[in-house]
Symmetry: C2
Subunit: 424 residues, 2 copies
Amino acid sequence: MNRTLIANLPDHVGETVRVQGWLHATRALGRTNFVLLRDRSGVVQILTPPDDARGLPPRESVLDVEAQVARDARAALGVELHSPVLRIVAAAAAPPAVDLAKPDLTASWPFLLDHAPVSLRHASRQVAARLSAALVQGFRAALQSEGFVEVFTPKVLGTATEGGANVFQLDYFGRPAFLAQSPQFYKQMLVGALERVYEVGPVFRAEPHDTVRHLSQYTSLDVELGFIESWRDVAGVLQRVMAAMMTHAQPANPGVAVPPVPDPLPVVHFADALEMLGTALGANLAAEPDLAPAHERWLSRWAEEEYGSAFLLVVGYPLAHRPFYTHPDPERPGYSAGFDLLFRGQEIVTGGQRLHRYADYLAALTQRGWDPTPYASYLEAFQTGMPPHGGFAIGLERVVQKLVGAANVREVCLFPRDVHRLVP
Amino acid sequence: MNRTLIANLPDHVGETVRVQGWLHATRALGRTNFVLLRDRSGVVQILTPPDDARGLPPRESVLDVEAQVARDARAALGVELHSPVLRIVAAAAAPPAVDLAKPDLTASWPFLLDHAPVSLRHASRQVAARLSAALVQGFRAALQSEGFVEVFTPKVLGTATEGGANVFQLDYFGRPAFLAQSPQFYKQMLVGALERVYEVGPVFRAEPHDTVRHLSQYTSLDVELGFIESWRDVAGVLQRVMAAMMTHAQPANPGVAVPPVPDPLPVVHFADALEMLGTALGANLAAEPDLAPAHERWLSRWAEEEYGSAFLLVVGYPLAHRPFYTHPDPERPGYSAGFDLLFRGQEIVTGGQRLHRYADYLAALTQRGWDPTPYASYLEAFQTGMPPHGGFAIGLERVVQKLVGAANVREVCLFPRDVHRLVP
């Protein structure tokens, strides 16, 4: 007999079915015994003769059950199983480290993460995983429909060119090599070949700070496109991508409050943002090169009030504080054509227009006093003719964190990596 | 005026359009001058006044052109552009390192790979990239429709548990860590939580052999599912996944010969394969623990003749030669429930049924004389009850290599990594 998923049992009232799953819990109500069986779709209660209930192995053992589906209005599912024939497929060798039968997990986060193979069996720990998958599906669907090609780029690099700090070093056949902090250089070079590319992949930051926002490996959703007029074209793609991500997230997660994505995204210039913040907070912020987390939270609240938007695009960050490949704002000297997208008080996207002329790259490196030699391959792309282009990178875990309202980004990652955590 | 892609010009005969792209080449036919402009969709010839043609910057410069679309039966596209107004968007600072205007690239592969940002602009170098993207789309579509959840697992590990040899070591905040050779342990642990998972991601092998088949980073398409009856259920998923991959590959690449995927996949047992090989090659292979590349080629030719199939599933590899988590064949002692899928003479997939009982894992580790301590997290999943499960991993680059008939796997990778190559 084929397996029936528990969520589908209401379609089989009166039939004999076969279900398979984990022994979630047992319950005794007076003289009545229940076995609760869990599969990936839900939990069902099985009315069990006392003899059967006594011979049960530990919780989380895997069972195969043939039984009859009976309507029961008191059950959450509207049905329960009667007259079961229980078979133990794999007995658990020990009870679970985490009590999975409670509606909420009560252990500390370090304990839950240490025991991830068990704690991830709890429904509450799976929301973020399913949401991540749905968001990435939406991301790809939007880009696919606009002619972007998915690419796969190296994660091991010969030089630590893109920033310098916070890079992991490895031994590559006796030579030093470095883990990629982003696919930035590759996606730009590929604009010269494919014009529009995207990548979903891990990026690595040797982030020594133990904060609720940082992981040393996270999933970056990267986009780059050529033949733009300005950063506004990039922001347009971002709006459509973000809208598709939210649209895909909703049906997969009816319990999560998914906000609308305004078209166009509300925009504030960095200089105007500082001025508003200065007025509101009574401080002189005119010389600030970046936004502090408290500023991002204030601006998000402002966007919520002013535009009814959970999203706010801050554009024009000071050029000196952005990466060397950032394009200047042609109309406001000192400011860049770079942006961040804030979502519910936190930066979840960085992007903008990039330099595209070879001479501009040489000037940008010279101005920083950097030797262009390690950048030779990257520079060859610009030397050989590159269109105006731009792109962005979305931090997947941060989007999920803000969607589910998790206090710590580690809570929405299956197996997080940070300065202390390498296992499991 | 909005940009028109070159491939769409035949829809605009008689209209004035705007095209944008790279100066692919110039041609003088008698007194007539042509500029060839290339974008991501194709190449168009532009009838150019002599004065315009003389003032042109180097090849690969980026141009913006407004012109009239005129029918021309001699042009490959069926149209050409007349009366152009040419604007130089970004002049190339040097001619391209590779001659991109020839129908075939003639430089050596090391040279082409060294100059990847330029050589990838050649149409011949983009076939594999577009094919890879289409195959991965098919992979995901098949799994999505069968209830699999996409996951993102750590690529940096605290222990080099899965094999030991050929692992890259890195400095993780002063501690040793290792790059993941596969998501094997994670996808198995996640079967306990989500039952059916898949991942598309980079894996890393410190492969010291400089062969045409090995990369030190490649893209692994990983699948794992619980509640199987035997390896045959896993092979069924593999058949459907592979069929979807080929279906997606075809329209994206009309020039590539995409073979049908028989349902079910033709199967030969490892012992029978050795017997056939022994008879055919006149050698005693009875004690061989694995298939040599020449054996795989012979078996593929045999499957082509016997079944008309480019695919052959070899099952039952000797247990001693497979990883410790491999499930034995319940009917043939010494043989495993593990398989490889051969495609046109090469192994492109490894998979099978895994052990699922905690005691079996302890016995497998003990038999190898391995300390179970570093495996504690992994073992916790089995200790806490795991269903019979299995899965497989597809090496994306190898599939592409065989589809396009490339002699070397490096040819189908955008920026390959091997024992010598770390740049670009």
